[in-house]
Amino acid sequence: MSGPDGRKHVLELRNLTIKYYTLTGIVHAVRDVSLVIRERESVCLVGESGSGKSTIGLAVAHALPPNARVSGQILFRGEDVTRLKGDDLSKYVGRKVSIIFQDPAATFNPLFTIGEQMGDVIRHHRGVKDKEEVKRISIDLLKKVGLPDPERVLKSYPHELSGGMLQRASIAVALSPNPELLIADEPTTMLDVTLQAQILDLLTKLKEEFGLSMLFITHNLGVAAEVCDRIAVLYAGKLLEEGGVEDVLLNPLHPYTRKLLECVPRAHSKVRKLRHIPGTLPDPRHPPPGCPFQPRCEEARDECGKMPPLIEVRPGHRVACVKYLSGGGE
């Protein structure tokens, strides 16, 4: 399948619904989310806790815990990968799709050096057997992620590297199988602000260089603006708005997106009075029917009791809000 500009779909989520079975009830983490990521496109999943953004990332990477139940479909280049197992699974995860985490220490086994772990990935997923070739590829990748002394890094253990260096190394590992899709789950949340800027720059550069698609997960709208082409706003498991990043941030259509932008303090402009959203996030075990934002929305009406579908209000900009259902426009 391909989009209007001819770029093919790399990832497609169709009616993805994910539940966690826990001892305190069923957590409805993701509810009927449909989304597309094209070639060389980076899409940001933005949301607060309970939005389901991390769950979606884990689902695509087949990294959900055993108590998760997935319904709907995840399509990779048109093929259904939702329920892959065995050999097929290992050809997909870690090879076509890579993931980097918030805590770079989670990517690495503390008992082995960076070089050994990268080598494993390169040998297994790229079939390279020659030791020298593996080393050459590893060093090349470490240079590409901006690590100054690649030989030393290869010989180092994870605890010997600083947080920033380790995160760069984890990006290098993620890129070593030459994936088509990179999932980044809050990769800069634990980093200082200047380091964050460096890593975001790096990811943008690498995306171009490697022709990657990216699924970037964050709660920070500024980070989304810096690194993504398209942005998808999630709330309580549902997709509320989706479109080009500039379009959504400059002309937010959904009341939640608008309120979210109003309540984020800014460093680059003077904000007189910060608006805030009254109320709290809904309990993911007992989601209210209809639009999840209704209890906190100033523009809520009766029709909000039934969740509206995503409607393309502007080219490439979709929103799920009763305000835009046929007739009732702004």
Binding site: S49, M165, T194, L221, A225, E226, L274
Partner: protein, 323 residues
């Protein structure tokens, strides 16, 4: 004379090695810091990890004893105070920490948590305390039914409100806010920031805001100190700092903050500092930023600049500012 004056504060942590724990070096976490906080003002202390901002705050809260320097509160030297004589200071200087689920005792009910400072410092009767606790909860926007609950029954925002209620119970003059909203969801952060701003006006409080989040700084603070590797590198009134930062580190820090508004993003001048800050064990000679600074000259490598007054209450620790 400001309400709180910190003069030449230094805090060094010893590095021990070997069986006998010999001291082999020092981590110079705070290396000569001066801070002034007036009444009813919000002062922000900004920096990244290793800057020393948290250690400075902990010294002010007397959780650490300074290695050198003085802390004066209302003109009185409180640096070496201990035990009971510390009581007056404690009544007046309180704190709200980053993660309310860690800063509230999980085995205590909300009503006991908020009552504890009152029980410790006043002679109020049980009924008076109960009344005051109820008033405090209303003040921070919490319904009365949280009284009998435990912290883990509350949401992040509610728990942080309890922490705030506890901090203002004794009507302190200064509240140290250590990353008060970093652990909260975006939509809740604004609620708490507005609450803090309202309380400041209502109770004529001062805040010392410790954070790495510059956008929060710009929203609620009046004056900002920027720290790098244990020293203050720039200090200015908030708007002055954000519109006219002069120290390369402050400029880099500001330019690194991600911006949601695409129009403003294009206007941002990016200054990139290569590499990472060195550890506070091996402080570079001369200006601490020189190994990473794009404007470093010979002088910067040898001599450490003083804080230079560039007018308007704006101070910069950089040789370029003196020209």
């Amino acid at each position: 004379m400001a309400m709180l004056e910190v003069k030449e504060l230094r805090k060094y942590f010893p590095i021990r090695s070997g069986l006998l724990g010999r001291v082999v070096g020092w981590v110079k976490a705070v290396d000569g810091v001066d801070i002034n906080i007036e009444e009813n003002t919000v002062v922000a202390l900004v920096g990244e990890s290793g800057s020393g901002k948290t250690t400075t705050a902990r010294c002010i809260l007397k959780l650490h004893e300074p290695t050198a320097g003085k802390i004066l509160f209302m003109g009185e030297d409180v640096t070496k105070l201990k035990g009971r004589r510390l009581r007056k200071y404690r009544r007046n200087v309180q704190a709200v920490f980053q993660n309310p689920f860690l800063s509230l005792n999980p085995r205590m009910k909300v009503e006991d948590i908020v009552a504890e400072p009152l029980k410790t410092h006043t002679n109020m009767s049980r009924r008076e305390i109960a009344e005051t606790v109820k008033d405090l909860l209303t003040k921070v926007g919490l319904p009365k039914d949280v009284l009998r609950r435990y912290p883990y029954d509350l949401s992040g925002g509610q728990a942080q409100r309890v922490a705030i209620a506890r901090a203002i119970a004794l009507k302190p003059k200064l509240v140290v806010l250590d990353e008060p909203t970093s652990a909260l969801d975006v939509s809740v952060q604004a609620q708490i920031l507005n609450l803090l701003a309202d309380l400041k006006e209502e109770m004529k409080l001062s805040y010392l805001l410790i954070t790495h989040d510059l956008s929060v700084v710009r929203y609620i603070s009046d004056y900002v100190y920027v720290m790098y590797l244990g020293k203050i590198v720039e200090a200015a009134p908030t708007e002055e700092l954000f519109t006219n930062p002069q120290h390369p580190y402050a400029q880099a820090l500001l330019s690194a903050v991600p911006e949601p508004d695409p129009r403003l993003r294009k206007l941002k001048k990016r200054i990139i500092l290569p590499g990472e800050p060195p550890s506070a064990v091996n402080v570079p000679p001369g200006c601490r930023l020189h190994p990473r600074c794009p404007y470093a000259e010979e002088r910067c490598k040898r001599e450490e600049p003083e804080l230079i007054d560039v007018g308007n209450g704006h101070f910069v620790r950089c040789w370029r500012a003196s020209s």
